[in-house]
């Protein structure tokens, strides 16, 4: 079965090709069949491979399959695929969540025109993401990396006839490109020093002799390891929307909701984390950069959480919560708790996909209305959506017993364990804020009386089963996913942290770095868990007080009046977009205008025009000499003779 | 007397002799022409003045002297006056190259009996005779009347065309001799006891016809054809100037026939008689004059027997008949000399 590993990325690609190229003539049903069938086949194939992988024993517990030599010569890049512990987890998440979202979007996009195009792009996205995850070297990963970037651009700008989506698509693509640029630099550095980009060449070599990487100052005054780590992290920032480069994610909500669910919650944004975890060796040898990653992660988390507090658009709230959760993941990765980071990726994939699809069905029911102030009291009309949405909210808030609690706790535990109490405190506050804004959205949407138009109220109905079934499956996932990695403390002596052990071989431990984090007493650990749970519950209760009941909105506004300045800041996203615009976009525009006006028209065109003018001038001057009068020619002739004579004589 | 001046004096004396001979050609010919024409036209001719009209030329000369000298009003004065003078130039300079006797010894120095003992004798003759055209042209143009202009144009065209044929014919004679020097030609004929006109008869005929044309004699006297162009280029010329033209014409004729005689009839030599010393010189000169006389007579005879050519016939004869013949003759003679017959 494993021999077919290479087929996994190719199946969705084939689906995309069939729909994209031949879809025009297919009836809608056939388009859906191909569009959803390809991810289904991929899911089954992936599960088969995972089953064989789990049961077979492989050298270095990684199954590598090289199909052909993509490039030869110095830069020898094999078109190879790798299935090891890390990519197995990612493969499972991508295919499982991807398939569910395809089923969901069949219903959601049913009556949209451009249906065929939507499924072609979605399949293309799936194949790119699988390529990224299964690649056995950085370049194949980079192909996938670019593929997902492209598909996110296409899907965000899906409603190309409107004004905002294409602009948002372009913004996403450009910001991603900045990150990709740094990623490329890192790859160049690696290749320059190791002559290859394949994981099994580069990573063991680094692990073997760390001196090679940390000694000489390579680029920007940093040793090689730090330089590469930094470059890769900037790439991850772009793709996984961290502080400086996160601006594209909120605007990416202009795309259809399932797209946001798939790309901007479950898969694409987690690519950054996957890349960091894949090259954990480099990060372990670059402590400074790892700390930097942690700090960026924490600050992004709290920053995004604060913005989410004041958002009225339901999808914007979820978008900022995604940014915030990604912050958490990078916080964990920065601190060296790579398994915790990946665990949070998995759990987050489930409940964030669930929340997005839930909000999707709400918007579907509200006829496209996304503003929470116009909703309210929907729990009567949409019971299953309401229940699944609440489960998702509870999970993300970190209420004990659900997935969120375990993965978030792992991260906070890692923070506390490695002695970074400040980061732990930031994490704790963010957990509280998360709980608060999630339940704010729950109350504003589902509780209180309906604030929408009468016609919308009349139209309210529960989503069709094709949408609610995936919701329920994801809800189950959101609950169950947690129990994969139960921490020792709560596992009453039995070591249930299966997930941690599963990833053990991938986290290579380079010599000279003491293994694992020094553990703090079980008592302190127990106390920490209690505190996080209390904070979560406090968040929910406080949200209920401000937004619960019928008058939820007015009470919320009252809170806002009390801190008018803070509220305006949060509502306008700390004016970050405006700052970027002023700092980067406008100067660039000016520079390009300068080049256009001055250099291009004046200098270059000028030069050519001058040339033309000169020739014309000489032509005119020359014309005077041809007077047609024979005697003038005789004169010129004679003068020529004299000159010749003069020249010969001297 | 140094050698240089001696030569100079000798040539002066010789030139004086030749000049005396050729100056008298015109009056004699005047009389001969009138008598021959009369004889041919079966009428008595001039017989009033002196026996058989011998003084007629004297009378004519006097007439020319006393006639009023009229110059046309708008005539181009200098050219009009210079034309007759220029006509005399070729006439009285071409016969210097003709040898008229064996070398004679004068106080110890041998003096060749030729005025200008020049290596390129024949060529000089031809060159200077080609200058004769200018007098015609000047006369025609200067007298400012259409007929004379047309006459001049026709004359120059005729002269140029026939000069070609003449030159080629003469060249044919030179090939066996191998030198331009006329004395060598005469010596060659004497040595071979064969006058040139026999082997090169075609060349001789071409030469003869071309010489008629060169001197504007009757068959070719279109330039001063009375019936069409009144008197051709010398219409406007009165007494004495006309006499000069008259004189030039006859002297030209004499010079050309002298050349012809020297080239084709052995010049001053008599067949099988070796002349030398003073007696030889005298006999040589006499024979040369006799031959020239016969030739002149032939000219006159032809003049009064053949009708005038029309202009295009004249041109066709010149270019399409004489010239090819002359070239043919040249080739034949060259071949014969190469083969050693000549």
């Amino acid at each position: 079965m494993l021999e077919l590993l290479w087929l996994i990325p190719i199946l969705p690609l084939a689906g995309a090709a069939v729909n994209g190229l031949l879809g025009r003539k297919f009836p809608k049903a056939l388009v859906t069949a191909v569009g959803v069938g390809a991810p289904l086949a991929t899911l089954l194939l992936a599960l088969g491979c995972l089953w064989h992988y789990a049961h077979g024993s492989f050298p270095g517990n990684a199954y590598e399959q090289v199909k052909y030599a993509w490039t030869t010569g110095d830069l020898a890049i094999p078109a190879g695929f790798l299935l090891d512990r890390l990519s197995a987890v990612m493969l499972f998440i991508v295919t499982f969540v991807g398939f569910l979202i395809h089923v969901y979007s069949a219903g959601y996009m049913g009556h949209e025109e451009g249906y065929r195009r939507y499924f072609a792009y979605l399949n293309l996205f799936m194949s790119a993401m699988l390529m990224l995850v299964l690649g056995n070297n950085y370049l194949v990963m980079f192909v996938g990396w670019e593929g997902v970037g492209l598909c996110s651009y296409l899907l965000i700008g899906f409603y190309y006839d409107q004004l905002i989506p294409p602009a948002a698509g372009k913004k996403a693509f450009i910001v991603n490109r900045i990150g990709d640029f740094a990623f490329l630099l890192g790859m160049f550095a690696l290749f320059a020093n190791f002559g290859s980009l394949t994981y099994h060449d580069v990573l063991p070599k680094i692990a073997a002799n760390p001196g090679l990487v940390t000694a000489s100052a390579y680029g920007l005054g940093l040793p090689l390891a730090s330089f590469v780590a930094l470059c890769f992290f900037i790439g991850a920032m772009g793709k996984s929307a961290q502080i400086p480069l996160y601006v594209w994610l909120p605007d990416a909500m202009a795309g259809p909701t399932p797209v946001s669910a798939l790309i901007h919650a479950a898969t694409m944004v987690t690519a950054g984390v996957y890349m960091v975890v894949r090259s954990n060796v480099i990060y372990q040898l670059a402590p400074g950069v790892s700390l930097f990653v942690a700090i960026i992660g924490a600050s992004t988390a709290i920053f995004a959480a604060t913005i989410a507090l004041a958002q009225t658009d339901i999808k914007k709230v979820l978008a900022y919560s995604t940014v915030s959760q990604l912050g958490y993941m990078f916080l964990a990765a920065g601190l060296g708790a790579y398994s915790a980071a990946l665990f949070h990726v998995m759990t987050h994939a489930f409940f964030k996909a669930l929340l997005f699809l839930g909000s999707g069905s709400v918007i579907h029911a509200m006829g496209g209305e996304q503003d929470m102030t116009k909703m309210g009291g929907l729990r009567k009309h949409m019971p299953s959506t309401f229940i699944t949405y609440v489960i998702g909210a509870l999970a993300i808030a970190g209420v004990p017993g659900l997935a969120g609690f375990f993965s978030k706790d792992e991260i906070l535990h890692a923070a506390a364990g490695s002695g970074h109490w400040v980061l732990w405190a930031v994490g704790l506050i963010t957990a509280g804020l998360t709980a608060f804004y999630m339940f704010r959205s729950v109350y504003l949407t589902f509780f209180g009386h309906f604030r929408g138009t009468h016609e919308q109220e009349h139209h309210l109905h529960e989503s069709p089963p094709s949408m609610t079934v995936p919701l329920w499956i994801l809800a189950v996932g959101a609950v169950v996913a947690g129990y994969v990695g139960v921490p020792k403390l709560l596992s009453f002596g039995r070591d249930l942290n299966w997930f941690h052990h599963w990833l053990e071989p991938v986290i290579a431990v380079p010599q000279g770095i003491e293994a694992g984090e020094h553990n703090i007493g079980t008592g302190v650990e127990l106390m920490l868990v209690l505190i996080t749970s209390l904070v979560a519950i406090a968040g929910i209760v406080f949200a209920w007080q401000t937004y619960g009941g019928d008058k939820g909105l007015t009470k919320g506004r009252a809170w806002a009046e009390r801190f008018p300045l803070l509220h305006r800041l949060l509502l306008n996203k700390w004016y970050v977009d405006e700052i970027y615009d002023a700092l980067i976009v406008r100067p660039l525009a000016m520079i390009s205008r300068f080049f256009w006006k001055v250099v291009d028209t004046f200098v270059i065109d000028g030069a050519i025009n001058a040339g033309a003018f000169l020739t014309e001038l000489t032509g005119d001057v020359g014309r005077f000499s041809t007077t047609g009068n024979v005697r003038n020619y005789a004169l010129y002739f004679f003068l020529g003779v004299i000159l010749l004579f003069w020249w010969i004589a001297f | 007397m140094s050698a240089g001046t001696a030569d100079f004096v000798a040539s002066l004396v010789k030139y004086g002799l030749m000049f005396a001979v050729f100056i008298n050609v015109a009056p004699i010919m005047n009389w001969v022409e009138r008598r021959a024409c009369a004889y041919i036209q079966d009428r008595p001719g001039p017989n009033r003045l002196g026996p058989l009209g011998l003084f007629q030329p004297l009378a004519d000369a006097l007439k020319f002297m006393f006639k009023e000298d009229v110059t046309p009003a708008l005539a181009d004065k200098p050219l009009y006056l210079m034309a007759p003078a220029l006509a005399l130039l070729p006439a009285f300079t071409t016969f210097v190259v003709i040898p008229f006797g064996p070398d004679i010894v004068v106080n110890g120095r041998t003096v060749p009996l030729v005025v200008a003992n020049v290596a390129t004798g024949v060529l000089l003759f031809l060159a200077i005779s080609s200058l004769g055209v200018y007098s015609l042209v000047m006369a025609g143009y200067a007298s400012n009347n259409k007929f004379s202009l047309l006459g001049a144009v026709r004359a120059s065209a005729q002269l140029i065309s026939y000069e070609l044929a003449l030159t080629l014919a003469v060249l044919a004679v030179l090939i066996p001799v191998g030198s331009f020097h006329l004395s060598d030609i005469v010596a060659y004929q004497q040595a071979h006891h064969l006058w040139n006109f026999i082997p090169q008869f075609i060349g001789f005929m071409v030469f003869l016809i071309a010489s008629f044309a060169e001197t504007n004699r009757l068959p070719f006297d279109l330039p001063e054809a009375e019936s069409e162009l009144v008197a051709g280029f010398h219409t406007e010329y009165g007494a004495m100037r006309f006499a000069l033209f008259f004189q030039a014409e006859y002297t030209n004729m004499a010079a050309l026939s002298a050349l012809g005689v020297t080239l084709y009839f052995g010049g001053w030599t008599l067949p099988f008689v070796h002349l030398s010393g003073w007696l030889g010189a005298a006999v040589g000169l006499a024979t040369l004059l006799a031959k020239v006389g016969i030739c002149m007579a032939f000219f006159v005879w032809i003049r009064w027997t053949f009708p005038r050519f029309r202009y295009d016939q004249l041109m066709r004869l010149g270019w399409k008949i004489l010239l090819p013949l002359a070239i043919l003759n040249l080739i034949v003679v060259a071949a014969m000399t190469l083969a050693g017959w000549l």
Binding site: I642, F645, W646, A649, F650 | G4, D76, L79, V118, A119, T120, L123, L124, L126, A127, I128, S130, L131, V133, Y134, V137, M138, G140, Y141, L149, A152, V153, S156, A157, L159, I160, E163, T167, S179, F180, R310, D312
Partner: protein, 214 residues
């Protein structure tokens, strides 16, 4: 003696050359050209090239210049009125010309060290004067140029006839019988080919009749 001749004929040549250039009537110019050529011929003989001298007279003065005269009379070239260039400009040109010439002369004589005097030339040898040496050289070393010049002359003849020939349609055959009605020929060289005139094959008589009522 011989230098006297040189200076005499040199002066004659320069004098007549000036006349050639300055005289307004082309006939006088041509005739003075003859005089120049004649004096040049004498100088050639003086320089030990009698054959070239005689050739000069025979070919150049005898034929070419006659051709000039012939054309001048044919085209009835009038006296050339003097150019209306005003005095000032003429003066200017004269000065400029003089300066250029002086420069050239100074350059030629002073700069290249060619003293006016110069070595007397070597004794005149017979073979230089004689025709034999010239002829052999002509037909051995210079045979190819000789042939080429022959060809050139042929081409020139053909060219000249073609260029100067009147177009066929209007050459009048001598045996054409003229009818009084025929329109007068205005152009001294016969009028330009008249488009209506038919080809020569048809006798002039009939063509002019058709013209009458066409």
């Amino acid at each position: 003696m011989e230098t006297v001749i040189f200076f005499l004929f040199a002066a004659l040549a320069i004098g007549s050359a000036i006349v050639v250039v300055t005289h307004r009537s082309p006939i006088y110019a041509t005739l003075s050209l003859v005089l120049t050529l004649f004096s040049m011929a004498v100088l050639f003989v003086l320089l030990g090239a009698p054959f070239v001298g005689v050739l000069q007279i025979l070919v150049y003065a005898g034929a070419i210049v006659v051709l000039f005269l012939f054309v001048i009379m044919l085209l009835n070239v009038q006296k050339e009125e003097n150019a209306h260039v005003d005095r000032g400009v003429q003066l200017w040109i004269a000065i400029l010309g003089a300066v250029v010439f002086l420069g050239l002369f100074w350059l030629a004589f002073w700069r290249t060290g060619l003293r006016i005097g110069g070595p007397a030339p070597a004794r005149l040898t017979e073979d230089l004067v004689g025709l034999k040496g010239l002829a052999t050289a002509l037909f051995t070393d210079y045979l190819l140029p000789f042939e080429i010049v022959g060809l050139l002359l042929l081409v020139a003849v053909i060219g000249a006839t073609v260029a100067a020939r009147r177009s066929d349609s209007e050459t009048v055959r001598p045996d054409d019988d003229f009818v009084s009605g025929d329109e007068p020929r205005t152009d001294p060289l016969r009028s330009l080919p008249d488009p209506h005139r038919t080809s020569v094959a048809e006798p002039a008589y009939s063509s002019s009749k058709r013209e009458a009522h066409s």
